[in-house]
Point group: C2
Chain length 598, copies 2
Amino acid sequence: MNKFYGKVLEINLSTGKKKLYQIKDEWLKNYIGGKGLGAKILYEELSPDTEPLSPENILIFVPGPLTGTLAPTSGRWAIVTKSPHTGIYMDSQVGGHFGAALRKAGIDILIIRGRAPKPSYLYIESGNVEVKDATFLWGKGIIETENVLKTKHPGAKVGSIGPAGENLVTYAIIGFDYYRQSGRCGAGAVMGSKNLKAIVVKSGGKLEYFDEKGMKATVSRLLSVIKDHPVIKKRTEIGTPMWVLMSNEGGFLPTRNFSRGVFEHAETISGEYMKKKIWVRNKACFGCTIACGKLTHVKEGKYACNEVEGPEYETLALMGSNCEIDKIEAVAYLNRLVDDLGLDSISTGNIIGFAMECYERGLLKDTDGIELRFGNVDAAAELIKKIAKREGIGSLFSEGVRKAALKIGQGSERFAIHVKGLELPGVEPRGSWGMALAFATADRGGCHQRAWTPTAELHGLIPRFSTEGIAKFVKETQDERSACFSLVLCDFVPFGVGDFTELLYNAIGLGFDKESYLRTGERIWNLTRMFNVREGISRKDDTLPPRIMEEEAPVGPAKGLKITQEILDKMLDEYYALRGWDENGIPTEEKLKELGIV
Amino acid sequence: MNKFYGKVLEINLSTGKKKLYQIKDEWLKNYIGGKGLGAKILYEELSPDTEPLSPENILIFVPGPLTGTLAPTSGRWAIVTKSPHTGIYMDSQVGGHFGAALRKAGIDILIIRGRAPKPSYLYIESGNVEVKDATFLWGKGIIETENVLKTKHPGAKVGSIGPAGENLVTYAIIGFDYYRQSGRCGAGAVMGSKNLKAIVVKSGGKLEYFDEKGMKATVSRLLSVIKDHPVIKKRTEIGTPMWVLMSNEGGFLPTRNFSRGVFEHAETISGEYMKKKIWVRNKACFGCTIACGKLTHVKEGKYACNEVEGPEYETLALMGSNCEIDKIEAVAYLNRLVDDLGLDSISTGNIIGFAMECYERGLLKDTDGIELRFGNVDAAAELIKKIAKREGIGSLFSEGVRKAALKIGQGSERFAIHVKGLELPGVEPRGSWGMALAFATADRGGCHQRAWTPTAELHGLIPRFSTEGIAKFVKETQDERSACFSLVLCDFVPFGVGDFTELLYNAIGLGFDKESYLRTGERIWNLTRMFNVREGISRKDDTLPPRIMEEEAPVGPAKGLKITQEILDKMLDEYYALRGWDENGIPTEEKLKELGIV
């Protein structure tokens, strides 16, 4: 029984029944917490016939053993559920303050089951949870919802869904701390399907440490590593938008629905430009000295709106260049709109780009009068509002590009840019072959967080436009990130495995050496794969959009290149071999036994 | 018998005897060419009692099978000999046009033995070599020597030594194409000891290819990889001096004789500043589209001098910040001086910094009236001239910091900054723990070219100020570079192993897969280690300067850190284990057998 982490609170919204217990030690040892533990719970609880939007699906809020501690970037935590957008495993790594508050309210893992008979919210305090009526909040945006609930419960932290989540748009988000999201794969729709509008946490407690003195020494050492780190400095100065000009120069900034990787107006949606034009101040998550968040404010002009945290790089890429929108103010405006209505800005930007291409090609006739041309900000805003409401043309796009292309037909699937149903984020893969494999193999579909290769490619540490070394890099990063996302710490800490294990040991007394820690990451990755295999996923799904495989990049460094089936197969063959999976992408009995999964 | 590479010309300068033969196929297969083949020849020919400056030492000019071909950056080639500066193995990778000319004159490998009875130069044309009188050139600088010889032999390529080489300064260079050097470890002194002032090559031939069509296709593909590569673009724009601001920000720009890694005046010796102030045009080696060379010209003021190619980053770091010289014009002036007199700018800058520290600490009294204070450009220039002549105080410093410290005594070895006698180049290792291990284990002593870790450290791909992942990174890079330096291609091509093997196969029909190619690199690294082991090198020599191990960095990101014996031992233990060497750093019988060395 670990004294420092592992307290589970379950609530069944259908019945109101609660359960409080401690997670098994063996599960902690094998899956740590966060993503890993969430995946284990999900794998054990669900079966392949569980409908993601049915009461049988479970929504797991799962901070890790480092969440809320003194460890740098300990604001991070995870949400795990079965995705209504892709139909497979999903986890989402969230920043802000909510996860830390949950732990300090005495709950390490919150499992939500069933479906409330009416719009409800949860109120959590001192290890207990109450179901409260939320009828008066239904239909409200995330900002207003949070404002109302914070007035009602001063000092509380709030997570909530907007109209998109209520209306079961399959890529709806849950918004926390106003502008931090569980963004991808539609956890907001799962919450909506449970009639759950919000969760309010009032934290009062203090976390205990296995070795507080040791923790303080480790943290002090690591803070100085962060302090002068060149990459971190740039993250503090510009944040993730530092990538706009780099990816444009690298030729992989998605532009015009991923038809190219170079945007001629990248400058005016760049991080540097944003800093000059609309930046107000930096914002940090709980326990973070990096403060990569950028609070911005468009004060005047057509796109004047309230403050927003962002846009992040991904939003700039997808709602900017990918829609040929070249005004930073317009992107900030759209960013605020989706954050408030409760939509994922990555999927939404990708979907709008797809809608615009369909429209310009004449495949989309009835658009409720919206002129869906590339670069048309007003049209994008109109479409977003309709999607959130699932109204008219919005309904067509409320389940992502994969399903929209099926409905539109006429060959539109040729430019539907997704993997396993999840719209690709801000890297055009013909310009980054590493991300091509990362997207093809990510456990939740087209995701950039499981392995990030562009830094290594741009700085010559792995060759560009080559399959060489990619499989190994992607495999090793996926394993390492799986472990890190189980702690949970942020994507952006520049720590090594030894640092992570030292923090973990000091925090809860769970000891790993480097090998067993990375083995744990590998175990988690294999478990999520097995979840997906149970849903029918195999090699055939580890693929890329037709545009990437069949059309040559027309401009930029990747000009003339495409990721052919042969190239992809070469990377997949190497990747499966390194993983100990069979040629169909299925983990072998031997590998599963070695990892202790079966 | 390989038709496309492997023609050896030997000349014994003592007897005038020549020998022309083809290298064994087995040696090509196991050591490729360039560095690897040179190392094999050196290992077989020399014994541990060979004095580097005796006629028994051999000087090997060894282009690789890709030198002079269509392959991008094929201007590179190697010089291999036993170093008079360190007493151990050395190779030097040279750019420019000379190596390509040598191959096109019908010679792939030139081995120089013995000692000419009087100052001589070699004239090479159509696979033949003549020894010519060079009495009239003795005492002349490299620039004038090359001018005279090019007037005498129009269209020829020239390599020559300056007064430093003639006077057996142990870190004397050989200069090629005016401003491309065999820089480190004193090949110029070996040439001087052979009474050989210069080598002139008149090339007329054309290289044949095993598969010319295949070669053209590969090259065309690789040129487009180079064309838009972000790192390459910066190399073309700023060249190696792009590192000044990055290493200063990273806290590892050697400053004031490596007492710190931050220079407050880095800006005015930076690449960006250089480009604005004194840049004239870019210069490229044979077969290179990168053109990282920067021709500069200080036209007026105190440091006005003729044009020079450079300063490179290393020169800026060692003759700039390390001597607290903060004027780009002054560094260019000193650069031209050492290039012409024939001294290695890295060792020289390091030595001047050491001399300045000794002087300011009062350990050096009789300096022929030179006020050797940090930042004193005139003093640096005076010392350089005296070193090249081995005159007065210059004599004391003409064999490097290791020997100078022995003579000066008074504890001065505490700030003699070298590994195995080779002065450290432009990375202050407390700020880059990866380079700490790279320096400690490099085959020719404190060298930066065998494994370059700062890119990975600065961009978060390996943790900073941590031993984690360092041994593996350094070991793998050393092996990979050993193979690349045997082709020979440049440090700066962003190619993968598959690209290298494809080029090699097309050029001379020698086929490797990825594994056997990297195994060849490992074989070469182990062979050079065995050369050094035979000279008495072991774990005790795989170390770092006392300053780095005993003094905490006083400022910058590494503030408060030092590379303690414990830290170094941890990295060495891991490194030896990965290499299959025993704990004393000696390759095991088993490893040597596996590699086919014994």
